[in-house]
Symmetry: C2
Amino acid sequence: MKSMVKMIKNLSSMFNPKAVCVIGASRKPGKIGHEILKNLINYGFGGKIYPINPEAREILGLKAYPTVKSTPTKPDLAVVALPAVYVSEAIEECGRKGVKAVAVISSGFKEVGNARAEGQIVNLSKKYRMRLLGPNIFGVFYAPSKLNATFGPPNVLPGRIAFITQSGALGIALMGWTISEEVGLSAIVSLGNKSDVDDADLLEFFSQDPNTEVIVIYMEGINDGKEFMKAAKKTVMTKPIIVIKAGRSERGARAILSHTGALAGSDAVYDAAFKQCGVIRTSTTTEAFDLARLFAGQPLPDGDNTVIITNGGGMGIMAVDACKDSGVTLMDIPKDLAAKFRKNSGMPTFGSTVNPIDMTGQIYEAGYSGAIKTALSDPRVNSLIILYCQTAVTDPKMIARAIIKTLKENGAKKPVVTSLVGGEECRVGIRELNRAGIPSYSEPQRAVFVIGAMHEYARYLRKRKK
Amino acid sequence: MKSMVKMIKNLSSMFNPKAVCVIGASRKPGKIGHEILKNLINYGFGGKIYPINPEAREILGLKAYPTVKSTPTKPDLAVVALPAVYVSEAIEECGRKGVKAVAVISSGFKEVGNARAEGQIVNLSKKYRMRLLGPNIFGVFYAPSKLNATFGPPNVLPGRIAFITQSGALGIALMGWTISEEVGLSAIVSLGNKSDVDDADLLEFFSQDPNTEVIVIYMEGINDGKEFMKAAKKTVMTKPIIVIKAGRSERGARAILSHTGALAGSDAVYDAAFKQCGVIRTSTTTEAFDLARLFAGQPLPDGDNTVIITNGGGMGIMAVDACKDSGVTLMDIPKDLAAKFRKNSGMPTFGSTVNPIDMTGQIYEAGYSGAIKTALSDPRVNSLIILYCQTAVTDPKMIARAIIKTLKENGAKKPVVTSLVGGEECRVGIRELNRAGIPSYSEPQRAVFVIGAMHEYARYLRKRKK
């Protein structure tokens, strides 16, 4: 049965619908059926929007329809926000109308032990060859079609990271987090009970999606491990997959069981599977998005040699320690290159070129610019970590701008990450760097972690491509 | 020789001087001798300030003196901001005047291979029984006496965390970071080359200091391991010590050698020594200050049982995973207590009381308040982790305020940490909680990490006190 459903690739109708109906659209602010409709309208969806409500003539300025049947054109996507008992009837109606995908927001299914009701809506969607997202989800967002069919925050930033989440509450919370952290997203998909559409389906879609460069998944468990591995193995050849797999601990796995009723499975099995497929695993959502930002903004390295440039010895040493933890290969700087770093940065004689290239606290923008150009122009250097400690005589904003300018003028063939440690002005500098697509973090260890993970991914790809 | 110097406890003159002179005070903004004087004046130091400059009559509105000899009263503390070659002469002059402590900002000593010059100033300070801080430092800050004798940021927030740093650049950068993160400090001491005053001396001072509750040290190496261990072992019985020891990796240790000329020593030795003394070691400065904030704001737990309260299953599971990593004992909730959690929080039937207590996304302020009261009033619960995922129907600020109010009204006999995940409103909530002394973090793993480290410290103390 599953394979038949798999054949019906109506997922693109879900992300790029010409018309969307909201079944259970409500006039009452605060109601889920109201908030989804409001987000759809306000985010600027370009297609038709049909609120379905038998008791309303108009909701939020849009003409309402009593049934799906009565809409003037066929909706490709139906968002269902009804109490669980009414859902199967709505799905049946969608099927008859020719809807291609339904996103069932409603909860009250398998997650509360109601497997029978869930089976029923799955069977109905199969009968009509529709794709079913959910149930028990907060919706779906896709930036390219300006589709915000969620009851999460209205103002998600468009970008090139697709985010898939099994947890609804965490997903909505992270939507808000990405906004305040200025992380741009191409898509957000709430998977909920995964009764039909699952991670593997979405990987297949996003691997083909020109708007997505990297995929982040918050995962508690997978139903079909083989399908996932097959899809992942194919996807990673063009786009990195980053997974936050919860339930690492035995107790965490038990909590998953009581949360979504899913079997988390042995963590060691997941770990091995991820490694085999080249899927990158992180422990925290911050790590996942830190890394996604790097993949979305910077190219892959051609080799393993990393150079650290710093104006502070202590910060350099902490980064070096982190390099060991994160599997970063610090380049042994050849004599000719050391001389160039010294000359081009204008560092004082007590500066060091051992890697970290410690230019000392006496250098300014020109020092950074000179050192960065040196690293970029030398073919033996494959990636660059730029560190900056706020000093009494330099302005973090000016340093950030010098880094941006130098990288812009000297091509971006190698991945570069940065970390600025200091006060409020550093936050501004970090924000400017991130906006320019140069990942920047408030802590050197975060910069080292991401570059290490990227190098590991690049090594995996080189091996597979052999 | 060392022990004789040790006997001379003039450190309190350094932190609580009646008069301070700045040797090398300058009229020129941007110059170190100008910035230190400006910080001293602007931070509101209540004692006398004497700028020493043979060519100036007045600097920043203060009468300047040509020599230390010519000041009307004896300065207890002299801050020396002169080129290295003039420092020994200045120290000699201080000694003759009866100065008790000198902070030598100047660089150009052992860190650049000039051990002879450093030996000379150490000998001079010993001759006159003065304590010598530095050289190669950015100064000293002590909140209770409103002493900001640094060239770092002017507006450090007063608090109960003492911060000792061997790295100057990192130290200044972190001063700024603590301001933008609203971390309050009792003291900041830049140790530089540690020619005389070292970590052990400061531990002795801060262990007696009623204004300090917890000590954070950024350390690259120690000269006298035995002295440090002796002081640390004594100090930890009343105040926790948190150390960021850089140079964990072999390459990091080599970088230290070229940074400060210090031998980092074997990392395993440090690790064992820290464990034996009950010193808490962290890898990053964020971890260190996260933890310091907890110690400064919350009491120690009486036992090992931790309870997690959450409104989001996914966030709860990630926290449970982190509990394993951080050695947190999740309490097995007895039936009677489970029933109380259920009743007092008003969670829906599909909520869970297995720990994490998952109240689900359907609860509001009252749910948090009820669950918190339940945990606080049960003697079997020793510490509490409160998690919140921003939902469409709750306001993070209101949740934060409900937590603050409930904790205020129900005593604070158990440590509580919180984590709020979501958008901008969560940042506001986190800030309010932190200001109320309830540590709050943007990520559940950070909350779990700190409570784990606190439990470990409490276990260490119980063992030692037996």
